[in-house]
């Protein structure tokens, strides 16, 4: 079961003709995703050809792409200086889901984008995220499709490759994924843990959730409070950055401990108090999920 996207999702890739857009446009098509349009201002009217010869029409604007193809989800590979504008364009064109892969958008642009999106119906995933995948049906993003297996474990994460690690461990133990959602590593995001947990909670195809957080901000603590009050399914959580020094940005713009706040320890405390099974070692995410599902003590 899918929570956001499925085999019927019609994808427009903003920045399709660029380097990243081309590599991942190919990756999405190879996985079976329905990439139906590309948008690159100035290249409207041309066609983008995939490695296997599939031809995708390119438009100047997202609005034109929507009118011509009925696309209903966008994946944004636009560079940092213009990416926020790209998301705004998708939202203005009425696209319900915008997955912003781009890393390097300025914080003020993300603040402006948040305000803009408040008045629109578009859900943004990211920025600075690997995307969202419903294994066996479609992927919108850059994650390697082959490590995923269809199943009933939901995965939600602020990370990219660490998410692949979790998925890899789960698949190896025979636990497939209902959906995996990368919400990204930036400080001001379009979708937070609670948004995704809510969807997993309501999804009949999801039986348990793996949540991967990291230092910085209070999203995990807020999720813990929500989980305690609402979550009907088991949650297993890992928090990266237990050994991160304070005050330093650890790669992700949002991964920074400031003024004593945003530590992994505080997040673990909050999650534990909410009944979440906490994983200390990143090598044990799959193992702990297995133990939880088989009814053993976490």
């Amino acid at each position: 079961m899918s929570i956001m996207v499925d085999k019927n999702t019609r994808i427009v890739v903003q920045g399709l003709t660029g380097e990243a857009g081309t590599v991942h446009g190919n990756g999405m098509l190879e996985y079976g995703s329905a990439v139906v349009a590309g948008v690159t201002p100035g290249k409207g009217g041309t066609q983008w050809e995939s490695k296997k010869g599939a031809k995708v029409p390119v438009f100047n604007t997202v609005e034109q792409a929507v009118n011509a193809t009925g696309c209903n989800a966008s994946v944004i590979f636009v560079p940092g200086a213009a990416a926020a504008d790209g998301v705004m364009e998708a939202a203005a064109a009425g696209i319900p889901l915008a997955v912003c892969i781009t890393e390097g958008i300025s914080i003020m642009d993300e603040v402006r984008l948040r305000a803009f999106l408040k008045e629109k119906k578009t859900r943004m995933i990211g920025p600075n995220c690997p995307g969202v995948i419903t294994p066996g049906q479609t992927k919108l993003g850059i994650m390697p499709g082959y490590i995923h297996k269809p199943g009933d474990i939901g995965v939600v994460s602020r990370s990219g490759t660490l998410t692949y690690e979790a998925v890899w461990q789960l698949s190896a133990l025979g636990y497939g994924q209902s959906s995996a959602v990368g919400i990204g590593g930036d400080p001001v995001q379009g979708t937070d843990f609670i948004d995704v947990l809510t969807l997993f909670n309501q999804d009949p195809g999801t039986r348990a959730v793996v949540m991967i957080g990291e230092i910085g901000g209070t999203m995990e603590e807020e999720a813990a409070a929500w989980i305690k009050a609402n979550m009907k399914k088991p949650v297993v959580a890992f928090i990266g950055g237990q050994t991160a020094p304070p005050g330093k940005r650890m790669g992700h713009a949002g991964a920074i401990i400031q003024g004593g706040k945003g530590t992994a320890a505080a997040k673990y405390d909050a999650l534990r108090a909410a009944g979440v099974a906490c994983v200390q070692s990143p090598a044990d995410m799959g193992k702990i999920m297995k133990a939880v599902l088989e009814g053993k003590a976490a």
Binding site: V23, G27, G80, A81, G104, I105, S106, I107, M108, E110, V111, R112, R114, A115, I142, M143, P144, Y146, I147, S157, R158, S159, G160, T161, L162, T163, Y164, E165, W168, G185, P187, V188, I212, E214, I215, G217, T218, M219, E222, F238, G240, G241, Q242, T243, A244, P245, K248, R249, M250, G251, H252, A253, G254, A255, G259, G260, Q280, S281, P282, A283
Partner: protein
């Protein structure tokens, strides 16, 4: 990116935020000159470092044991005194509560006109991640650390979130001014100042701004007596703030971190002896975690991102080996789009070209992983393959000779 106080004040001046007269100098003679030019009987010689708590800090001899001067911010009443204080400070480490135990070498001091302080207030702004908006914070407890105030007396902090598109509204500025007990001309000056502060915060891509203290002088002037500004690194990378980029003080940054950034690599120095190279920030953080949990000590965080080709791997090796503490390397790569065979070949080529002499443990997972592992095995190099992350952590700790 951080700015020194004197730089923040330069930006304040551009926005019409009132500051005392002052000049930044690099020698004791210049300090004496600056004092004279100020034509103010009372002046302050202020150490310029990227750390707070300078007033209560200690200037040490280079041995970091013998005290040279108590306090990094000194009141002076003559050119000779200004010269004396500058001589005591310039070129020596200032250790404060925020500087870390090694302190920072003071390369410049700011000589500023003194003033007769009537009230000390606090004014700051920061991004509220949850709200997705910046928030203005003000308090009558100037001169204290805001985190202390937040802990002991949270009601003393007045907050106003503002809309970046609309700017701070008049009613918000008035609310803050009244809450700080301001009236008359000081009220008007503060109102103007807070409008300028919020405008500057947005236009200059700030992540942090602190004026602590913001003073009301006995003459009724409202002045920013200190200034701390943190700028969004992303905005700098996107070349949005060339004037601020020109103010970057590389001597305040870790040299390896600075070099890494120039290669487009995310590197953070740590205290240990196991060098790490990982693709992805979350995976890199958890690699540090798993090393620590296995009893080792990571020397660094390094996210090589999606570009782990031979050139990037070579650059990464050079950075890791620039740290003399490093006794072994752990490479942890989850190859998604990047194929493991391509990565393995890149690692082998890089090791040969850089002539790495310390043990290397590689954990590869993902596309073409078996081919990748074969390449490493057949390379003839001292590269140990790990089965998974936990195995890799244990092996690299053994290789570094740190078995518990």
């Amino acid at each position: 990116m951080n700015l020194h106080e004197f730089q923040a004040k330069e930006v304040f001046r551009k926005y019409g935020i009132p500051v005392s007269k002052g000049a930044v100098v690099e020698t004791p003679d210049q300090a004496a000159e600056a004092y004279t030019k100020l034509e103010s009987p009372l002046a302050v010689v202020k150490s310029q470092i990227h750390a707070g708590g300078r007033g209560k800090g200690t200037v040490y001899e280079k041995d970091l044991k013998t005290v040279r001067l108590q306090g990094g911010v000194k009141l002076v009443k003559s050119a000779a005194e200004a010269k004396e204080m500058a001589a005591k400070i310039l070129g020596y480490p200032l250790v404060t509560k925020q500087s870390g135990p090694h302190g920072r070498i003071v390369r410049r001091v700011y000589v500023e006109a003194g003033c007769d302080i009537d009230r000390e207030l606090y004014l700051g702004a920061v991004l509220d991640r949850k709200a997705g908006k910046p928030v203005l914070m003000a308090s009558t407890q100037g001169g204290m650390e805001i985190e202390e105030v937040a802990e002991k007396n949270p009601q003393a902090i007045i907050k106003e979130h503002w809309d970046v598109g609309l700017g701070l509204q008049g009613y918000q500025a008035r609310r803050v001014a009244y809450a700080l007990g301001l009236s008359g001309d000081a009220f008007k000056q503060f109102y103007k100042m807070v409008m300028a502060v919020t405008k500057m915060f947005v236009e200059k891509d700030c992540t942090l701004l602190e004026i602590n203290p913001l003073v009301v002088t006995k003459k009724g002037e409202v002045l920013a007596l200190d200034g701390k500004m943190g700028i969004d690194d992303r905005a700098i990378e996107l070349k949005k703030q060339p004037d601020l980029e020109a103010m970057r003080d590389v001597s305040e940054e870790d040299p390896i971190e600075y070099e890494a950034a120039s290669y487009g690599l995310n590197y953070v120095s740590m205290e240990g002896n196991i060098g790490c190279m990982v693709n992805g920030a979350g995976l890199a953080m958890s690699t540090m975690d798993i090393i620590k949990q296995a009893g080792g000590a990571p020397a660094n965080f390094l996210d090589v991102g999606g570009g782990a080709n031979k050139d990037q791997v070579k650059k990464a090796f050079k950075l890791l080996l620039a740290n003399p503490e490093v006794k072994a390397l752990f490479i942890n790569i989850f190859g998604g789009i990047l194929r493991c065979d391509v990565l393995a070949q890149g690692i082998v080529d890089a090791v040969k070209e850089v002539d790495v002499k310390i043990p290397i443990v590689v954990r590869l997972e993902g596309t073409n992983v078996e081919i990748g592992r074969e390449i490493l095995k057949n390379s003839g190099l001292k590269i140990t393959a790990a089965a998974d992350m936990a195995d890799g952590a244990r092996k690299v700790i053994d290789a570094a000779g740190l078995k518990k």
